[in-house]
Homo-oligomer: 248 residues x 2
């Protein structure tokens, strides 16, 4: 029996909280981690304020197997993530020769100015994460994985770091559509099914489209047999309700 | 001088953390609050677990003027938000006659079963928030505003609750595009501009499209004169760099 491997995401950036930029990284990372057997348990979005970032990093890294951060590792004054990670861990930070070498692949010596060299500031003890797009690396320090905020770069960094992560049993998922059945019609029966299958997490998700609800019941479990048994019970429940001419 | 009015968002739902559903509420609420003069300072996503929800509600409601929650107020067993809010506040919860009356507008008496009546469970002392789409109300208890997770319903609830909220000076925003200029080229100058205008928050936001970066500099301030002065300095900086034939 493998213990669950857990994770949190910390999105760093004023632009998300101001509504200017719509985050796309949380959804992407959530789906990615589910596929490789890491349970995402929490996500937070904080502004570009040192005390907020440090507090969130320390709260989340203590609690979960991994913490993934996005944002704040560019060359401008509002990019303070690397320094905050160093502060959270209580380790020094400085220009990392390996990171400088990566930046040299992209920039001519005369263009590698102090601002760009900030992107080579890496906390002591961190491993670098390749950035195939714009070279400035992410890094991993302990259980914290620090990635760019630009989605294409974050995705490439996640691909690079994922093979080195511990993973657990992948969560298996079954989706049972409940078209034409209202949640309130199957809720009592579904609660009974959920109680009868404690190893299976069962959720009911309404979506509102075209003036009506279309609902889906989603079952999640680590063991195929448990999942199949619960799925059969859900389908039997919905079938009975439809045969009974359940009101919608 | 009006004090800043602040807020946090708490998204409640396993389906967001599993990647099944991509959250669209945080971005919507963020933009909405910015427009009415409420500063969103933090957002969190937590699973459908009572202890997690209660802890997050209490941490966030203590810290910000308002806390907006989304999700978990439907009729199924995984909808536990109302009970968690009651627990967080230490108040009783039961079927609220006003909420029952709202549900009666939608459901015939024979269809208003115990599961649907769960949607009328409202913590003592809360004000209800109308739901024009499916009737089951949201509610406001103290500084916590509890809304549905389905975006169309959440948006209607936000429209209903917003007129009763305290608001501060709206944050004014100016965006200066920096096409053809790399962040690393203007970073040092931008840091100087930011330091010279402490009342203005200045961020640089790269986007990666078509194989290259297109950057925007975003300035935010509560006072138009301060914003305009900083914006002029940013434009002057970029103009000088372009005239100098700055490398990209």
């Amino acid at each position: 029996m493998t213990a669950a491997v857990t994770a949190a995401i910390l999105v760093i950036g004023d632009e998300i909280l101001s509504g200017r930029t719509k985050d796309r990284n949380i959804g992407y990372i959530a789906e990615y981690l589910a596929k490789i057997g890491i349970d995402l348990r929490e996500a937070r979005i904080v502004p570009d304020i040192e005390a907020e970032i440090v507090a969130a990093v320390n709260a989340l890294r203590a609690r979960y197997t991994y913490l993934f951060t996005t944002g704040g590792i560019g060359p401008t004054h509002d990019d303070i993530t690397a320094d905050c990670i160093a502060k959270a861990f209580g380790v020094p930070i400085g220009e990392d020769p390996r990171a400088v070498a990566m930046l040299r692949e992209r920039y001519q010596p005369e263009d590698l100015n102090p601002a760009r060299l900030r992107m080579a500031r890496i906390p002591a003890g961190a491993d670098l994460i390749d950035n195939p797009i714009s070279k400035a690396p992410g890094f991993r320090l302990g259980n914290v994985i620090v990635m760019a905020g630009v989605p294409a770069i974050m995705q490439a960094m996640l691909d690079n770091v994922a093979p080195g992560l511990a993973t657990g049993l992948r969560m298996l998922v079954a989706t049972v559509p409940a078209p034409g059945l209202a949640e309130g019609v199957y809720a009592a029966g579904l609660a009974e099914v959920a109680a009868a299958h404690p190893a299976v997490s069962i959720g009911s998700y309404p979506a509102f489209q075209g003036g009506g609800f279309t609902n889906q019941i989603v079952l999640r479990a680590r063991e195929a047999a448990a999942l199949a048994a619960a799925e059969a019970d859900v389908k039997a429940l919905l079938g009975r309700l439809v045969m009974d001419g359940a009101p919608i």
